[in-house]
Amino acid sequence: MTEATNTPLTRAEKRQARRIRRFDNPWRNPKLIWGIGLLLGIILLGIIGRILWNLDLVFTGSATLKLPPVGFENLRRQEGVWDYPLGTDGSGRDILALIIIGAPNSLFVGLLASLIGMSTGIFLGFTAGFVGGRVDDVIRVISDVMITIPPLLILVVFQSSFGDVSLTLMALLIAGFVWQSPTRLIRAQVLSMKQSGYVQMARLSGASTGHIMFREMMPNLVPYLFGSFIANVTTSIVTAVGLEVLGLGPQRIPTLGRTIYEAINAGALIQNLWWWWGIPTLLLAVMFIGLLLINLGLDEVSNPRLRKLS
């Protein structure tokens, strides 16, 4: 190839060049930025809400029952009031206060479960890929068996026997079902990287196993780990919400799933109390779209072939 020509650019070419510059700096990826923005929005809702809003409104009976959001009427022709801008639920709790506490809680469970699952997966995946032999067989069989077990089934049994659980315990239980796929993914990558030229070079350089694992291989796994982490956060949140909607999980701490469970239980669908179940669902949707966008964005960052020029 030759060096670029120095002729002045036309306007169309300049626009093209700007597009290409965006192409050149992969982190300026619109999907990634939007995804991060949506999740930050939920975290900010939690932080700012705690400062500005009266959180005592999450307790039962702290407000009038079944008030609609501002600008709407409920079946009793009651108008929404600014004291409870998103309305109240069937036992007089403020929806805004519920989501200020509940939304970050749901995100927290997802992040924590995924973090624990990933750490386990990294450890087991590296061990299986690197040590090989009997150890590899054992790890592979366990993770393959675990992958076939439907997590919700087991968790329902677990949680019903535990009764009330804390958010952390819930995250731990879910983490027990999200380590398998990172383990398999990392094992496969480690197996192929073990044969690569630079790992052989490192072995020739007298590098220790630890050095090869963490200094040579790990940095190249980062895009995979990120992608897998985000996918796991999504899975963990879905699992957590699934359990909460069934009435399991933490009983005394507001979460989005639990709010939906109570709405369904109280017949909110028939009574047209759409804000009760609708607003938490909307927030969950925002959360999932955010995670999906981050995942797609990271995919494009780590795989330039997916990036579009236009």
Binding site: M1, T2, F23, Y198, Q200, M201, L204, S205
Partner: protein
Amino acid sequence: MLDDVTPKKPVLTMADISIEFPTPRGVVQAVKNLNLTIHKGRRVGFIGESGSGKTTTALSVMQMLAEPGRVSTGTIDLGGTDILALNEEEMRKTRLSRVAYIPQGAMNSLNPIMRIEPQLWDAILAHEPGTPRADLKSRSDAAISSVGLPLHVGQLYPHELSGGMKQRVCIALGIILTPELIIADEPTSALDVVTQRQVMQTLNEIQAKIGSGLILIGHDMGLMAQSVDELAVLKDGELVEHGTVKQIIESPKHPYTQDLISSVPLVGGDSFLNPDKQANAPRRDSTQPLLRFEGVSKKYGAVTALHPMSFTLQGDTPQIISIVGQSGSGKSTMGSIMLGFNPPTTGHVLFEGHDLQRMSGTQSLEFRKNVQAVFQDPYACFNPFYRVNHALKFPFKQFGLSQGDKHTQQAMEEACVAVGLDPDLVLSRYPHQLSGGQRQRLIVARALMLSPKLLIADEPVSMVDASLRASILSNIYDLKDKYGISILYITHDLATAYHVSDYVMVLFKGHVVEAGPPKAVIGDPQHPYTQLLIDSIPWPDLQRAWGHGGANWDPSEQEAQAMKVGAVYRGDVEGFDLVRA
């Protein structure tokens, strides 16, 4: 210029073609104002380094430029059709039926889950829908037999065929619609010399039979000399020289062409090395031989890659021992056994009297420090995450050679200069910013910095551009000559082995078939297998024709004969004892 061309209507006329790629740093001109005419039945070679625009030019004829590349000026005329004016559907119909492309590494372009025959039928049906089955069958049979394959190949899956056979299937696929022009993009780059010669013969025969034009893209002047009529030399997107092969090889005008021709090493020709002085081997504390194989063999399941072999390399005087053979001869297996990456099935490998498989931690570090390697693939040898100096700095510190960061930096810079690299330009770059040649030199610089006693060079130049091979080999040779490092040079290239080595072993299916000093083994081969290898080298010399075996040259007969003849030993050199089987 080409007065010996019969004035027929040309198959392809490229007039004033420029191809550009918009990139973040402005528009890159990949091809500049190229003019070229290809006549019916002529074979034209495009030769140049990687990045010279030869593949890009050929792809523009197919309208298959990678995004965002585009033809910015000029016209392409294929037998009266203006290619650039065709729309997508018209172009689809033109591809394969009028211009066929045999891509690089075509062996991977076959669908792994389809038998060969339906893949050939697909090609016909895409252009002539509704062709009756009997017709399809007879045409695919004709195509298969025309490339010299038995008919039952049509019923096989791609994985059941060898590399050379797959390549021929791809040729059959290319010619099944008798196109006016065939473009073959390095069709033999993944094949060894013997298969390369067979495949090129098949391609040339069939092209002559259907009378189409042929563009052969490559970087091997020898292969070009043996297979094309005209040569187009490309450099940085410009056509620097165009003429008949005879004109170009005998009196190249452009200095770049002269470079390309002189960079091909010849057996018996002038050496590209200048062995001015002999360095002494680094002083050794051990009286034991440097490397010793004791009945070493390797089996992979039922396949024996290496039959029991014993030799001793004393290492008191620096030597280069070459191990030569085709792919599958067991030469790379030998290399990885020597490095201790691969335990032998039987026997022992001893380094200064210690068994590689039973070394203590400190012995193992000492072994690593003293036995280094240069691998085939310079692209894979650097961790893409780090700047390239990581690969040099890390082992230097690991082996306790460094006396502080300043000393390390100085050692790195000296090593770079010694292999002809500018340390300021390369050391702080990332691997993808360097060319293959620069990377391979850095690996040589790395070996130099560590000054091991033994270097194992496994095909060190086979993935580097032809024009750089000689200079990288002379860098490696300098390791022996100036720094006293013994080298085991593993290669399939007999011409370079002839020049660099003190002793040559020819491997065939895991056996040593001929061994001795290179002047005897390669200069005057006695074993039928060595003769076969020498015959298969494409020489950049029109007098020394490839085809003296005629069109029906068949290596299998010679191979069968080679199986029967025992090993031939052609003399010894001091310091290296091969135990005769």
